[in-house]
């Protein structure tokens, strides 16, 4: 690079580094505030998360099913006949826990 090119390069960099002067309009805040007032009241109405709702519903269904089945077949609870049933109960409990965690887990 010759001196002339060097000079041009440094001039170019200086021009790029120069910040354009622009004044923020005095009424910018007011205009922005007016625009915000026109925004739908989305903050009042909480955003509905599909995943969270599904997790809540699934957890509730699971708990209800567990209670209903226990009431319908109380003898199986009293005398577990097989390991399979115990494992099923464990699985159901785990799913309820997962559903609860998903439902309460903050997205932020």
């Amino acid at each position: 690079m010759n001196p002339e090119q060097n000079n041009q390069e440094s001039l170019l960099i200086a021009a790029l580094e120069r910040r354009p002067e622009i004044a923020v309009p005095v009424d910018f805040h007011l205009r922005l505030r007016a625009s915000l007032a026109e925004e739908p009241a989305r903050r009042a109405a909480r955003r509905v998360s599909f995943a969270r709702t599904t997790a809540y519903v699934a957890a509730v269904c699971m708990a209800v099913a567990l209670v209903v089945l226990t009431m319908l077949y109380p003898e199986t609870i009293k005398v577990p006949e097989s390991m399979t049933f115990v494992l099923e109960l464990l699985l159901v409990a785990q799913l309820v826990a997962v559903g609860f965690w998903l439902g309460t887990h903050s997205e932020g």
């Binding site: 002339e4 000079n7 790029l16 923020v24 910018f28 205009r31 922005l32």
Partner: protein
């Protein structure tokens, strides 16, 4: 209420950056108010989802670049015949001329310098969107490679390439427009 106050604080703190970056990226002084408003509206809408994993300035730069790119898409759709750089548009405005005033001005030198700046701004707008954004963020806003990569969702290597290539193209374009003696005259 807390969020609203927080938002106003953010606006106060970052509005200058938003205005000047939009001006450099779009080259349109007339519309910069509306675009800045759009930037802050987008930020306001996104505040609920802002998880704090990025700095608010990085997040804002990302919105600024997106708004500028949307503006360019809109212009392309409207088939705007010609691009008006911010400096060329307002050269007749008294406040614009005053902004370049120098305490001990050499009139000719000042004129050449002004012409050079205008050419750079004009040719900057002729670059590709990514190159322009990288050049403005790196040189004007003094963002690091990492920050630019985060803002533009690009790998750091690509940022370096855009910067190098953009500077090269800009230099070539400016050289073809400015007479050599004028540049060297400084």
């Amino acid at each position: 209420m807390q969020t609203h106050l927080q938002f106003e604080e953010i606006v106060r703190e970052h509005q200058s950056m938003v205005f000047r970056t939009l001006l450099r990226l779009t080259g349109d002084r007339e519309q910069v108010d509306d675009l800045a408003q759009e930037v802050f509206l987008r930020l306001y809408r996104a505040l609920d989802n802002f998880r704090g994993q990025a700095k608010i300035s990085t997040y804002l730069y990302r919105i600024v670049v997106n708004v500028a790119q949307d503006e360019w898409k809109r212009r392309r759709k409207e088939r705007a015949a010609r691009v008006m750089p911010f400096s060329a548009q307002d050269e007749t405005a008294p406040d614009y001329m005053e902004s370049f005033a120098h305490p001990d001005p050499d009139a000719e030198q000042q004129l050449l310098e002004q012409e050079f700046w205008q050419t750079v701004d004009c040719e900057l707008l002729a670059l590709g969107e990514s190159e322009r954004a990288v050049l403005v963020l790196y040189h004007q806003e003094e963002c690091s490679y990492e920050a630019i990569a985060e803002i533009l969702h690009l790998p750091i290597g690509t940022v370096r390439t855009h910067l190098h290539r953009g500077r090269q193209r800009l230099g070539e374009a400016v050289r073809t427009r400015i007479r050599p003696r004028e540049v060297v005259a400084r």
